[in-house]
Symmetry: C2
Subunit: 445 residues, 2 copies
């Protein structure tokens, strides 16, 4: 695999400088559609200025004189995208799952988030967090930070340095929160606006995303104000929706005049079309599903979290058949690991469990290429042309070095084994938009 | 952690030689009962000739002059026990889960097992298998080999060399199997008997376990003959029971005169009291549960496998309340990884899923100490006094080195994080009956 970091510019016949071309060789797999893997064994990906030009099984003569980054014997797959993760909860991921949701929040989540008022904790843990996402191959993600504007900006700066390409939001909450994690409506809005402007200047590659924690922790005034920011700065939105029944009842009590939970977000301008992520959506009503579809909302399916907190299982097959866009997300810290390959498996398992219930009988469980598509192209499309190796897509890629393959497995079987039984140790290289990304913070354990 | 491999014999006041004593210091956790972890932070385990003498938070003066293996900052927990694993399926663990059970068996499982007619594959893959179990901390286990007697004996010899302490069975199958994996009744019985005697001579620390694959693949004559071997050699038995409805119907068709699947095993002398392991038990009837209880059968709960193959979920809470003995098992290759910490999590998750169904409403999901107990003491008791640090128990232990603990977590929280989010990289030392076990086959990748 020598030469994999070679760069090169060449001149064409007419002597004109052409953009940087890079060629990668290996067993290429991706999912342009959810039905099946497209596999090119021992093929080439031609990347032009960070963008995929084409995949080919034989190198055209025009590229014959260019050096090739040879990943022979390795798989080349799109990077993973995680549309729902709580960065400050990473330190306590895996703790407290014998508790119910509310004591879990009080005992683990809220104290963990309150810690990020401290700049030293911010530095240490956000660096660890970014190292960890890098290690497991999550190259783009949408993260909740905390309500602390300074700490959130620091996460954006560290992300800018890392080479990973997330969108990040300062959490807003001005009601129903512990004293250590609440802000006034005005402060919340002012700090958010300032952060939007500052981050545009300081972290040009890291998007800002408007992040009301969820309806119960944001007053109508705050939601209204955030909706105005969405409009003014043309921003995306992320929040939680329909995670469990207690939460849904609570929203109904808080907003008796609005017919459904999802419509509260819509009412306050927090559901911009094609730019909204809603996590969980375990118990959505028909009415809500119609709205989510009309607004082209990205559903973030968090199967592991929903098992850990006994929330339920999203009816993924029904939602897909209905035409909703579903990505796979870790929801760390309610999910215990950020590894998207594990979440692909857990989504399939959850779907199989659901298919055994009488009311879901006959629903086909998720197949591997479908779940892989959700974790790559479906989630990636939130960021643009990301998550596939079709022409024009950003070259976001992982190089996976499996075993020495004594069993003579096909590329798809090797991918399957990595997804089910592999971990970060199998990932040897990571590329974002054509650029190889080294471990972001090697000084941090 | 220097000194952890020190041995030593000392003389007491009267000058009499006393047995070898070893003292381990660290954060000790185990589950003498399923209700709660017993935790001795910064405590001592005194081990006498491989057996736990006591745990103490302060070292008694009689031991004051002995060196202590200081695992300060690490957790010391009992080793994991896995009561159901298919050794020859390890190479294809993680493959084929988009298929239903029957095509999965035909495409992956049976060819994988047929490979073990080859001595080279036997050597290579059984060494890898043992290395892998060592790495994840599975110190004792009950394995299905294949029907090949030579290859099975080799697995026993390699196990003897490894220092791990499994019981192993040659699979018997003389009906309803592919041509590459079937034997005549007489050959099956003769080979099994020969293997029992040979292994007693050659592998004194590795138990032999009678292993009819499952009722549909063993004729009444074979089961009868195996029952006679159980009696004659006083052997334990392992098999499969009530994994899915198709299998249960099939058994009913094959044995219409016997009222239930479990009773077929009993009828043929294949349910020796306190020495029988039955894997899965997802769909047991009341009648069967009574029999399993009366015979003190070890149920091997394979939650991951049961999700992968869409088999269902064992009603663990009900079975525990009823008084059944349940251990946690990987069922590799229908489970995709052998890591028992992951199977602990998956058992808890499965139990939470079940608790959300109307017919299981009000059933408390498994708590972490209960699942840990199942994976240590419940499974370990099949092997004797194993799986706990109570006095008289074998010192089977794992030393777990977690993070540098900047969050000030309690020992139980650190254990919880290892179980949910850790892997083999956290295990620094492994002991079986007091003896430290190095990587069994370091020459194998």
């Amino acid at each position: 695999m020598d030469g994999i970091t070679q760069h090169n510019t060449y001149r064409n016949d007419t002597g004109t400088a052409v953009p940087t071309i890079r060629i990668f060789k290996g067993d290429i797999l991706h999912t342009p559609t959810p039905d099946a893997f497209e596999v090119v064994e021992d093929g080439f990906i031609i990347v032009d200025n960070g963008t995929v030009r084409r995949i080919t099984s034989a190198l055209p003569s025009e590229y014959a004189n260019l050096p090739v980054a040879d990943c022979n014997g390795s798989l080349i797959i799109p990077g993973f995208n995680d549309l729902h993760i709580h960065a400050p909860q990473y330190p306590m991921a895996g703790l407290g799952f014998d508790y119910e949701l509310l004591p879990w929040l009080e005992r683990y989540t809220f104290p963990a988030e309150a810690n990020f008022a401290d700049p030293e904790i911010t530095q240490r843990w956000y660096k660890r967090f970014l190292n960890k996402l890098w290690s497991v191959g999550t190259l783009r993600f949408s993260a909740f930070a905390t309500l602390h504007a300074g700490s959130t900006l620091e996460l954006m700066r560290l992300s800018q340095r890392s080479g990973l390409r997330p969108v990040i939001g300062k959490v807003n909450m001005d009601r129903n929160a512990p004293e250590s994690l609440i802000e006034s409506t005005d402060d919340s809005l002012a700090a958010t606006q300032k952060l939007i402007e500052k981050s545009r200047e300081l972290t040009p590659d890291i998007g800002f995303i408007i992040t009301p924690r969820f309806v119960p922790s944001t007053t109508p005034e705050l939601m209204q104000g955030l909706g105005a920011l969405v409009e003014r700065y043309d921003l995306p939105v992320q929040s939680h929706l329909d995670e469990n029944f207690g939460e849904i009842d609570w929203v109904r009590e808080l907003h008796p005049d609005i017919p459904s939970y999802a419509e509260v977000y819509e009412h306050y301008g927090l559901m911009p079309e094609g730019r909204t992520i809603m996590a969980h959506c375990v118990h959505t009503s028909e009415r809500e599903r119609a709205l989510l579809k009309a607004r082209h909302v990205y559903l973030a399916h968090c199967a592991q979290s929903n098992m850990n907190l006994t929330s339920g299982i999203m009816p993924v097959r029904r939602n897909l058949d209905y035409g909703l866009t579903i990505s796979i997300a870790s929801d760390v810290g309610a999910g215990h690991v950020p590894d998207i390959n594990h979440h692909i498996v857990q989504s399939i398992e959850a779907s199989k469990m659901l298919s055994m219930l009488p009311e879901h009988q006959g629903e086909r469980p998720l197949l591997l290429p479908e779940a892989f598509y959700m974790a790559t192209k479906a989630g990636g499309s939130f960021f643009g042309r990301v998550g596939s190796f079709e022409p024009g897509y950003d070259f976001d890629a992982l190089v996976i070095r499996e075993d020495d393959n004594p069993l003579g497995l096909s590329p798809q079987e090797r991918l399957e084994r990595y997804i089910y039984a592999g971990d970060d140790r199998s990932i040897t290289h990571r590329f974002v938009a054509g650029r190889e990304i080294p471990l972001p913070f090697p000084d941090i354990a």
